[in-house]
Symmetry: C2
Subunit: 522 residues, 2 copies
């Protein structure tokens, strides 16, 4: 991975676990989870947990709470880790150019899902990693004046995150705002002077490089959308109405559409809506590569809310650019629109592969409560046009299938985490088969932002974080927040200018990702 | 600070705040604290908070909840930070050799506390930093086989933590265990094979070097004791009895005495008790320096439980080495023993300076409930010999005095945190005066393991933590826990052998701390 030198040995304790631990009964997340794991009688420790539990009950989630047992999978720990730690994290790449249309969903992935075709598995993980990048690079720090932006400029995003291996280059960042008061979807800085008061970085457009293009049989334009919204917030949103999209009967959840379509001349980053930004760039790229006689595809991905936005984006792209092969690969996405929306997507040939973790609550929202109620009234009303519905093919993976994951407890963030999804896809063979023994993806990634791995693996929970939360000791001995690199500070004018030249430069320079496999120095 | 090169710019997001934040309603500590700060009506979110609140009520704590206002102190933020970030973190050191006995408490610090004498302030902070080191270097990682040990060997502890500036060298580490089932005081690894199943690193003995000895007028032996116990655990312990110490009427809390005195031949690190370890080393050092004709003092420090152990240690040292000037500088320590214990300490000339944060609950425990009830019965019973009582002089500091600290809310860990104590001492002028404008200590340290700083300062809460919680990416691209440096792995035999030669080496080599002021490279 294109990370800078990291030096560890001498730096002091994990003090977040440390002094905080002295008050473990009072505050820490670790403790709460421990309580959830070991003392079922204290499960309803706080309001939020009770909300989560009642939601789970409402949605008939499969929550298994077997007694804690020793995991035979890890009975010989040393053998297991020592061997496993020195294997590559990916299998060799196959050339899939001859079969790209099927892998891209032209036949609705029939015959490729059970058992899951290894070529398809690799592609799903590739797009999932693009979606994951929108979290990994996002500035969540509300004390930063750049809260809500991407920490890195588009030219280095993939290298910093170790995604150069996937053979794509980012061509444009997408920003979104919302006129609709959708609770807390926007990450805002606490500060007065910020890079943008209204907008968040919401994803990116990327293009396959020449090598990857040869391997996958066409120039692929990938769009990745960031998800942000907590299930509890969606729950509040359940009451709201669907809104029309397009000229026909298709309707979609108005909160998602608000994020996708909102713009304001008063803003720095959303004088154009997310919709306008992404469509302008996709159109430009499609025209450019078609003019060179290349085959072109569009693949849109996203997790959670990002999966909903991906579907809206696909709908618009299919309307705008007829004949373009368009697929959506979504992870843990909620229902977005009504049956007419689904039908129109089908008619336009948009292919959707929805990856769903069986235990995850989010894909059951916001539609399920309404749907369940409505089933009883279906014959009476004679219409379901305003019912939220899922589209496309579903790949259902199960937390219970992986020997690496905790099965007991109700781990809302863990079940919904995109890294959990990617881990389960990597191990998925088919409906009736167990976890793939050759799964290569680093299991430690699962715990980046949640607590899903069995303790035998010794991977701390929520470990993906900066040393000292980004504070550095200056040469006066004071701990301060360093300034962001100027090249990584968002600037609408610079980005617009750069955009004018970007494509040509990329094409002329025979762009090759500088890092072809994950590698960190330490 | 003697830290290795730290490189930041490119490392990715504060993902602990990040993906977790997406579920902020569900889990995170940050959220709980935010709720405590801003929504008094949801104060009783969980059982632990309710316990803390009822305790606060019981103990008549001063909890002020003023409305949130703009802090005029920070009205011109840029001016404030830019200037403040480039000042040194300490004032020049004065030579105090002529007045060392008064500074060490020979006259019970009379006339030195209000206003606080700057020489005394510096000494209090120095010893407090030794106590803080026992937290900063402690391995709290329950997934580590070295959980409960010190991360660094004694020869590099001060340099790693930037304490070389204080002019002391560590001569011995102290380990403790307990036969008494004192709830959760021991940090234990989850693993089967560990460096020690029964013992924790509990502190150290250090000696002033020649330069510091000249400055402070005598060879000072410092003992620092680590604290571990959460107030909620002490609360449970309230029910228990006092135990006799010594031959007379003196009695002390049996839980503290258990930690100080327990030993077992079955253990690796407590074949000798903490008491035996520390007394053997202190005796050895006193004899060594006295034999060279030097004046020698003993100063024992500790925070929380560590303050209680410091008092037990002082009692024993005074019994064992009559005539030795002994002082205890404790921070947020609970009451330890009865009146006879206090009287004996006084008779033996042990001087105790107790630093207490007005809002901190811990110094009011475990005695207060008993004392308050007993006051009514004093005349009836005619004896208070079994009542827990505080000894010595008290330096009371007030959270409300510092413009850097949040005043509202009930922040149990924040009020009790040793870094909060050190910040308040650094700013303390006297009972009726406001925060010292020339206070130099880096305020950012306060938030190392709690959330006490006003938001205007933009310092994240609980920021003292390793990058990626100590995981590193190996050259196969897998995130793994690195092995500890062999020199930092505890080994009783090696430590015993090293001990045999340590003192001579230190004396012969004209030991000079390698770093004389805090300095980090980045």
């Amino acid at each position: 991975m294109a990370m800078p030198t990291m030096i560890y040995g001498h730096i002091s304790a994990t003090q977040a676990t440390s002094n905080t631990t002295r008050f473990s009964l009072i505050l820490t997340q670790q403790h709460q989870e421990a309580v959830l794991d070991h003392h079922p009688q204290t499960k309803t420790l706080n309001k939020a947990n009770r909300l989560a539990e009642s939601l789970a009950h409402l949605l008939h989630l499969h929550i298994e709470t077997p007694p804690k047992t020793n995991n035979p999978y890890f009975s010989s720990w040393n053998m297991f880790t020592e061997e496993n730690h020195s294997t590559p994290t990916t299998s060799p790449k196959e050339i899939i150019s001859e079969k790209w249309r099927e892998i891209h969903g032209s036949n609705d992935w029939e015959g490729l899902m059970d058992p899951l075709h290894p070529w398809l598995r690799r592609e799903i993980v590739k797009y999932g990693e693009f979606a994951q990048a929108t979290y990994d690079a996002f500035d969540f720090d509300s004390f930063s004046e750049y809260c809500g932006s991407c920490r890195y400029n588009k030219n280095k995003l993939f290298d910093v995150l170790g995604l150069g291996k996937n053979g794509y280059a980012v061509s444009k960042y997408i920003y979104a705002m919302s006129h609709i008061d959708m609770p807390n979807w926007l990450e805002r800085s606490h500060l007065v002077e910020t890079w943008s008061k209204d907008s968040n970085w919401m994803g990116f457009v990327a293009v396959s490089d020449d090598e990857e293009t040869r391997r996958i049989g066409r120039r692929d334009i990938a769009v990745a959308w960031r998800g942000t919204v907590a299930p509890s917030e969606w729950y509040e949103d359940l009451q709201r109405n669907l809104e029309p999209i397009g000229d026909l009967d298709a309707k979609v959840e108005h909160g998602f559409l608000g994020i996708y379509k909102s713009k304001s001349d008063e803003t720095r980053y959303n004088k154009a809506s997310a919709s306008e930004q992404v469509m302008k760039e996709v159109t430009r790229l499609v025209e450019f590569y078609k003019s060179k006689g290349e085959e072109v595809s569009l693949t849109i991905t996203g997790h959670s809310l990002g999966g909903a936005l991906a579907l809206l984006n696909a709908y618009e792209a299919a309307k705008t650019i007829p004949g373009l092969p368009i697929s959506v690969i979504s992870f843990g996405a909620p229902r977005v629109g009504n049956h007419a929306f689904k039908d129109e997507l089908n008619q336009m040939g948009v292919k959707t592969l929805r990856v769903v973790v069986k235990q995850d609550m989010v894909p059951k929202m916001p539609g399920l409560v309404l749907n369940e109620g409505l089933k009883k009234f279906e014959d009476i009303t004679g219409t379901l046009e305003w019912v939220y519905t899922h589209v496309g093919a579903e790949l259902k993976v199960d937390v219970g299938s992986s020997p690496y994951l905790k099965k007991h407890g109700f781990n809302l963030p863990g079940f919904h985490s995109l890294e959990t999804y990617l881990h389960l896809v990597d191990g998925y063979l088919g409906k009736e088969t167990s976890f793939r023994s050759m799964a290569r993806r680093d299991f430690a990634l699962v715990n980046k932002a949640c607590d899903m791995l069995v303790e035998d693996l010794r991977i701390p929970s929520c470990w993906y974080q900066l040393e000292h939360k980004g504070l550095v000791c200056n040469n006066h001995g004071r701990w301060v927040k360093p300034r962001r690199e100027p090249e990584d500070i968002p600037s609408p004018t610079r980005e617009a200018e750069a955009q004018g030249h970007a494509l040509q430069v990329e094409m002329q320079s025979d762009y090759v990702p500088s890092i072809s496999k994950i590698k960190c120095e330490y």
